[in-house]
Symmetry: C2
Subunit: 686 residues, 2 copies
Amino acid sequence: MKDILKPIISIEKLQTLSNEAKASILAMTTLAKSGHPGGSMSSLDLLLALYHCINIDPKEPFKHDRDRVVISHGHISPAVYSVLAMRGYFDLYDAITQFRLAGSPFEGHVEPLVPGVEWTTGNLGQGLSAACGFALECRLKSISNHIYCIMGDGEQQKGQISEARRFAVKYGLNNLTAIVDYNKIQICGNVTEIMPQNIKANYESDGWGVIQINGHDYREIFEALNKAQNIDAPVLILAKTIMGKGVSFMENKEKYHGMALTDEELMFAFKDLNYIIESENEKDINKTSPTMPDIMVGKEKKTHTLTEPEYRDNGIMHREKRKSIKENKLFATYNLNPEQYIFDFQVNKEKYYEKSTDNRSAWGDALADIARKNKDTKRNIAVFDCDLMGSVKTSEFNKILPENFFQAGIAEHHTAVCAGAISKYGIQTFFAGFGMFGLTEVYNQHRLNDINFTNLKVVLTHVGLDVGEDGKTHHCVDYIGLVNNMFGFKLIIPADPNQTYKAINYVVNQKGNWLIAMGRSKLDIIRNDNDEVFFGKDYLFEYGKVDVLKDGNAGTLYVTGTLVNTAIKVVKRLSLEGLNLRLVNIPSPLEIDTEEILRAYKTGMIFTLEDHNVKTGLGDLIAQKIVEAIGTQSSKKDTENINPKRNFKLIKFGVENYAFSGSAEDVYKTMGLDEESLIARIKKEF
Amino acid sequence: MKDILKPIISIEKLQTLSNEAKASILAMTTLAKSGHPGGSMSSLDLLLALYHCINIDPKEPFKHDRDRVVISHGHISPAVYSVLAMRGYFDLYDAITQFRLAGSPFEGHVEPLVPGVEWTTGNLGQGLSAACGFALECRLKSISNHIYCIMGDGEQQKGQISEARRFAVKYGLNNLTAIVDYNKIQICGNVTEIMPQNIKANYESDGWGVIQINGHDYREIFEALNKAQNIDAPVLILAKTIMGKGVSFMENKEKYHGMALTDEELMFAFKDLNYIIESENEKDINKTSPTMPDIMVGKEKKTHTLTEPEYRDNGIMHREKRKSIKENKLFATYNLNPEQYIFDFQVNKEKYYEKSTDNRSAWGDALADIARKNKDTKRNIAVFDCDLMGSVKTSEFNKILPENFFQAGIAEHHTAVCAGAISKYGIQTFFAGFGMFGLTEVYNQHRLNDINFTNLKVVLTHVGLDVGEDGKTHHCVDYIGLVNNMFGFKLIIPADPNQTYKAINYVVNQKGNWLIAMGRSKLDIIRNDNDEVFFGKDYLFEYGKVDVLKDGNAGTLYVTGTLVNTAIKVVKRLSLEGLNLRLVNIPSPLEIDTEEILRAYKTGMIFTLEDHNVKTGLGDLIAQKIVEAIGTQSSKKDTENINPKRNFKLIKFGVENYAFSGSAEDVYKTMGLDEESLIARIKKEF
């Protein structure tokens, strides 16, 4: 057996550090009057041992070949901050005084604003998926390292973990070791009462190796960590621990899962941890000697006068310090400068289509062309599929770069997080799926990706009623609304195969999180008045730019996505009848220019058309912009300029209820979104 | 062993029906040019056997003590419709001619508009949770029956199923039998390649009994169904089957997972199924005899002239019939009149609070009072918790009605569906959680509940930045936006503990799906100008009604939720400075009266204030209403009436980015939502 991991300090020293760390955990939670001391103390020895033997360098937190640790139960942040500080990542005093202080990096749940933290968690059950993503990232980059994921036992109840387990086995992620802090206590009581679970059997049933240890015995921990590296499978270390370990009255008490100690309790805890109180009041404490059970049942007798405790050693700090940091906004900041990366994929700039096809084929083409053009020089791309590659058009990519393609099966929750994590440090990552599965089912996972500043490109090939026969469960008509609920994601809805191809060329070189949404059906190629391809050879996609497809003065019709084809026909036919609408395609609905909207507003009539919930999509965003535009202008006292030609009206055409299962054509008809219905609905307004 | 289930027809007859059903599966998918024939044929024999031995009555689809079947892999609807028709629920001809026709009940994924279908699915992995819900419903109602859930094998990859498994074991749901159609083929290939999984070991690791059978052998199926009823655990019948079973060229071919046969292939399939083609063209087919492999690789030689097939027996129908149904909108409709129920819980009408408390305590009180008042007479209530009952205040209910309280552990995805299903037939069900876990994580599950017309009341006790120290992962600031993305859910955001108590009294007697959202902090009791409690003894909550908390003419401030307390202080202080704003609380933001908005619009200045994403919450809804109100009026040519006193402006105050972890007070300050900041921001506009 290879004995790969060797602790950098002695076990005796670790034992000393353990008590100091516990004291700091308790100090920071008491000072913040909130936090999770119980689990922090049960996980502590595992963290101490781990961070003292793996390949990390506190002086270079982002060094290329570092081992990675994902903290899945992010609420044990006090333990993580304490251990990272002891390893030299930052000053422990900062963490103690700034824990859960608005503006500081030491948040309630671990944050990558803190050096040494790799991934923000807080929603339970997602850490193992992130660890899988990091393991794949390092494999793609040929980094020889190891990935650790430490989790709580309560969160083993989350289904997503089983998805991650199977993925890890399928992809042979033997560079992955999971650790469960098995303290058997969750918020509402004992895990065996709240939700009985055989964690060992669950992991083994999915093909994992399982090692059971005492999570407070450093020798056992090191032995297990080494053994895990020699097993030909991902390994779980199931570590029996004690909630509140080290403080007698806290041990095995669920109330300390999420409750900070009072000042008085803290003094007793320090004594338990062999922290001698040196304050003047020490005598009083010794004199009164309240028994532990009294404290445990909340019957502390206030017979001594401890009002403002003085903590010693690493615990020496003051409420005043915290107050001063807060008032003067003197929060710690760290130079988080990860491995630099830029995306500079070669793309096929001039390619375009003359003939009708579906947007998803254009996306598949663009992706395959990128793979071909960058095959020899690049390995910083990844594509994820959930058993839909034929429909979502990633099969060709898989043929060209099979090592960069990951088939995760029907396991979208895991996949969304895994794809997010692999993208974080410069792997351009595409997760393609139907709208319902790639976004609606996993909205929360993408929200967490957004918080983690990932570089994920979510490509939805089946959105809207255009999905047709699969029916209401599959009609994703909330993608604009969902993305608009997040703060970082950007959104592109291409109008035809050409704009799709060009948009993919654009996003492949963008950082950050993007959603690209398209319908299922074949679409006509959009052409200008001279019958030339609109998004042709020289067109470059530009985020936020609108496309004026036809001029007119009777009003403006804004449209996005699959229904652009329909809108063109509608506007042409109305034009023959003498009603000249201006037709504008909005491929970036979250980024609409105020001037454009003001221009349309002045015509007095705006229509919006979308294959999306009419309450939360394009029409909604345009309405917001109208109100905003009026407001912006009104402060200028320039009233004539903004008053519309007629009393202003906005008419929104979109999806008004769960729809039927049927051909897209028929379903559009039932919702009044077909050519004939739209012409009638528009004419009614004139 | 009890031999409880006896087939009502002979095995020989079942074998005949099997071929007829397969022919109808193929006919309806070919006619619709879409659908999932492969899995329908592998599941068929299981369905045929099941529906011919369980306690159901096609003449009385909703009979009280019926056994229930949940079809989790909803895409095998052609098989389900065929078997239900053969059992007499409706005319098979309707299903064949109307399958996937927009407007008909025979949707692509099973729909409860079809008699005999209990639950809509389509999103995979959710059926077992629904089955758990039905099992609990029947237990609460003391119905002695059995619940079945038939699933695909690919969907076993979904994590939610593991949550459902553990829940079923914890609650001893021995009246639940699951069946997996183990055809080993999913869309992209063999399940062992797409995502290797040991289904048997997975179920056993969670404490289930597993019986392995041949899913095409009726004797084995009946034996297993009976054996399952005698095992002291929930049981999985793992049934090995053949994708496309019965048609040689379809068997074990993944391409037939989701692809209909061509007309020509259909003829060959009929021959395989011993369906003799009686059309005039039969001779041609026999003459040319293309070999099966030719068809399989898509090389059918078009040497004969079959253009419009004539199907025989149950397959006799025409494209013309389908066309005529579509054109004349002659879709089948069924009298779906389930067991009638009304909610008539006794409530404590006059109770109110004089002293500050948090809304969640008022919710907990209201729920406990309802439990007390209805303890002896009612058992039609259920409350679900995911390991948060202390925080979300359902502990007291648990003490009063422990049998109606379900502790599901940290497993929100399962819980959301299970709680939805138990509510469907008249159990008033509350699922209480933090906003992030009760809604944001499980948005899609609630969307499916909405489609299933459930009676779920989702109570979020921790929404907004008010959640404070737990940080951005826990700040649920998208609940209005998420609910607005659905079409059925209604939303209440009470302003103080009194309105909370009254709102719970109101919703407990409402059908349908409702979201009730509240912050974490203690709130002052709202009082009127005479210092009387605003939502006092005589107040009754009325959905859609706004609460005018103060009159004023300088503009209107609309506010909802936790920040009502702040708004009152802000408006009072501005009033002392001579700026008189009208202050209006909006407890039902999805249902705002147009007249109210028009009135505010005319003052020229509207502010909105919310502890929610400013892009998708109250401000968004008010802006929509403003645009709508202007439009409504503009058609009246009555322009003077609607022009505002000054150039109109809407200013939205809300959450503009992911926020820090800190005390709610501090976090509000960082977002400009505290008293001082708001006063400054408002004054700037005058």
